[in-house]
Symmetry: C2
Subunit: 344 residues, 2 copies
Amino acid sequence: MTGAPRKIVEVLEGKTVSPPPIWLMRQAGRYLPEYRETRAKAGGFLDLCYSPELAVEVTLQPIRRYGFDAAILFSDILVIPDALKRNVRFVEGEGPRMDPIDEGAIRLLNGDGVLDHLAPVIETVRRLRRELPEETALLGFCGAPWTVATYMIAGRGTPDQAPARLFAYRFPQAFEQLLSLLAEISAEYLIEQIDAGADAVQIFDSWAGVLGEREFEAYAVKPVARMIEIVRNRRPQAKVIAFAKGAGMNLKDYRRKTGADAIGLDWSVPLSFAAELQKDGPVQGNLDPMRVVAGGVSLTEGVDAILQALGNGPLIFNLGHGITPEADPAHVAELVERVRGMRP
Amino acid sequence: MTGAPRKIVEVLEGKTVSPPPIWLMRQAGRYLPEYRETRAKAGGFLDLCYSPELAVEVTLQPIRRYGFDAAILFSDILVIPDALKRNVRFVEGEGPRMDPIDEGAIRLLNGDGVLDHLAPVIETVRRLRRELPEETALLGFCGAPWTVATYMIAGRGTPDQAPARLFAYRFPQAFEQLLSLLAEISAEYLIEQIDAGADAVQIFDSWAGVLGEREFEAYAVKPVARMIEIVRNRRPQAKVIAFAKGAGMNLKDYRRKTGADAIGLDWSVPLSFAAELQKDGPVQGNLDPMRVVAGGVSLTEGVDAILQALGNGPLIFNLGHGITPEADPAHVAELVERVRGMRP
């Protein structure tokens, strides 16, 4: 890179950038008509993830429309179980399905061939870095071991992730073995994304909120810390955002314990607490995605509250969870304008 | 009542009782074969709630088996929308359904006839107080306005309660009107339960965890505080437990702000934070229900950790959420024995 560092990288280095850089989780998604059009050309959802041409196209769409400060690789956290041959498929209107894994199958699991399977995703990253505007950061990502494991054990998404919690109580050794394997494979996968041109990577622990205190330490903090350790040992400059959705007060030491550069905050995190967390390091978040659907005063009030509470420190503006298909693209334009029009 | 006060009432008055009294959320439920037998005799699920004879029977079943310190009225939080003529029905294997409510319908909503509709539930409370052992406390309950409203707006249970969050952003006035009506009706309903013999009542705010900071104040704290105010104005001795599941750090001032005697804690609340909360007043909780399914070391370790952290203050031992159908009744017996065998 020749010019000034990309804004999101500056924030990840601890700098306050004003107005704050902005991107939205799931910004390449069904709320955009151009996404739905490209999506219709792919066969299944995973075909879209594994087609560099189409994945590049959908990743770029929101950048063209809104000029976000970061593009995030279009992919899915479940490409890892797919690469582990767990027969992942996306059932229209029902969400993901895969073969539920048991103790015996965990013992037989290994990472052979995983990176080969994911080569098209890495190719997408490579092409993206070439096609993105110079000033736009490129983010890679993967799921955190706990969150990926909840799907692998239940074979699907589940309320409260009860099957994975139960499995962890019943078979703690097998469960830790699964998390270790996922941590190692995922770390390798992130390293390849970084080498292919990702400026930073985000680790999504979407279901961290259902873990009790000790389980949060063992299943959310420890594997993510291990991943970041592996990545940093090999790529000391790597920048990592860790997003433990619903983790509430467990976020207090989450950045320090995992070694992440920044932490993502979901919309339920009180802004007073977010401001405290920001004293320790950069934060990302945390507008309720429903405010983008609603628009109007609920959108501007939500944006302003975040800017007021967190705008004077290292902040990456984002939603508190992925944007939903019902969001009006015009509201997204208003959101970006509001953030960029922030008075210093 | 002639003898000593019931243990749970003592705890609700702020006393430390050792070993702590115990009951389990959803203790009258599908994990018990005798429940499934009685359930099969009723027509639909709501028929069971509205049949004093059968509802008394299932309420007493776990008391006979385990001698819990409290019986909780067998009913459902959705009897309120049912009484409001929202066409509530329980679809086997799919959960509750009702007619989704909109702005116009909220304007037409009124509490006429609600208490008449709920008379069979009150009759159940009356009979229970006669049939329960003298030392067993009787708990009444209802849903908190926010949680009940999430079902009324979506017409069903929903992930992240997105429809209700969106509705509240779009139509704040109508939404507050709905919460006010629910608060007033629910308070009257609780007063009738108390008059019929309930020693205490619990307000379930099962979906409080998806609310942002300001929404938590407006939609979780305020309506529950209003309910407790109405109840206390008319029944100054009333004892109230407020359970805001998933509320995380919002629990900090929840007891003081709502005026509840005790607060319920879900299993994700760290025990160190729970101990802090206990300094302000009695707490109830918070074993992960999956530990009861798993049994063995995961059960005893979980119980012991709670007793160690919270056993020396005012504590009502409970789960952090309802017991699940998969729980082994033998594990429940072990749980009760472990809590009662607590070394002081």
